[in-house]
Amino acid sequence: MWGKGLVAGLKVTWGHWFGKKETVYYPEERLPMTERFRGGHLVLDDKKCIACKLCAMGCPNAALDLTVSVDEDKKRHMDSYKHQIGRCMYCDLCIEACPVKALSWDKNYEGSSYFKEDMTYDAVVEAKNRRGSNE
């Protein structure tokens, strides 16, 4: 009989109308991010960082712009760590390249911004701000 399939389809949708909801009310309710989630800003542990620049060398798309200085004891310091979000592919190669595990993601998935300038940030400045707010 023509129309039998249409009725069967409608039954499915009516079943879901009264069934469990599949979505959440964003932004009031947020889904947790996973342990391996790649996204947001890079969190630099500037106490651990040895300024070897391996992360920048590992980056396929030159999204990292680093400035390193050497002090009188020949110790290397990371002066600035510019991460250009617009160039970043979130491939994780920088984090995997780090020999001292000083890098991680902040797991923020709300990455959009109104201005292009906000798409570049300095991870060293963010690390200092974080320390300042903790102390």
């Binding site: 399939g5 389809g9 039954k11 996973t34 391996r36 396929p60 592919m89």
Partner: protein, 365 residues
Amino acid sequence: MAQTEKYVLNMGPQHPSTHGVLQVQVELDGENIVGAKPIMGYLHRGIEKLMESRTYTQCVPYTDRLDYVSAMNNNLGFCMAVEKLASIEVPRRAEYIRVICAELNRIASHHVFIGSLTNDLGSATGMIYAFRDREKILDLFNIICGARMTAHYIRIGGVAADAQEEFLKGAQEFVNYVPAMLDEYDRIFTGNEIFQARMKGTSIITRETALKYSMSGPNIRASGVDYDIRKIDKYGAYGDFDFEIPLGEQGDNWDRYIVRLKEVQQSANIIQQALDNMPDGPVMAKVPKVLKPPKGDAYHRVENTRGELGFYIVSDGSTKPYRVHIRRPSFVNLQALDSMCQGMLLADAVTAFATIDPLMGEVDC
């Protein structure tokens, strides 16, 4: 008597049914299609050229951006080609995890096919159902690699990290859910009379035409050609699994839809076998930090969701590939669009675009 003449209608690159930025110049005689000419290049990023200036390891994330709804299969194709070039032996456990991920991604990609097809035929409900189930797979990818679409999980020599218990449990739950999911699809769209009337007997690709255009993937199998690289080459761990290749009969839109539905079932079957027989051990081979494959070339092909995906890599012995060529299935399959559309009505062109399932990231590369 009124004088009539043929005219050209541009569909796309911003038409919602062209799935991305495909432009099709449709030549019409009234409402009947005389010819359909695909015009591409709107999403060309020069990935093949970009790869020449990246190291082998750095090339892998670019393959995610080819066929971006089945990134795992692209990763797999490129990594296996490099492994062939550099003679790297992949651990058994990594091979199994690769198969699970590739097959999950195949199902997710077929969800996009089902969703966009039903949406193009005027049933927005269908899209919601398919995407709801696709979300379950993307959540699993988020667990295993931290990304939902641009996975970059399969690496040269194995996989990025071992599969967690949470992922394996989730994959098992999804496989258990597949029969109920397919049953729901059958009740909601496959049995729908309007859907059937739009699909059956339209845009037929005969066996000969499919072979002539060197089509591959579900599109050629819908025309009745038994051609699946997973069975022919048995690459990776595919030789260990027992599965069937669903075939169509006459190669119309309906067959192309049914073949993909059956493929979902077969992929679930493969994942179940891989989960049951998962070996222990490492997931990464010993790959030098600076990979320098010997001089020479290698071609490796895998069964991507859309057909035969091949990577041809030429090495000059340095850290970067000298030349990479990608054989993209969507690009080759798109040749058949003209013969599929000829003699059909304009409304059927939309169905033809949907069932040929081109992905512009891959077509333009």
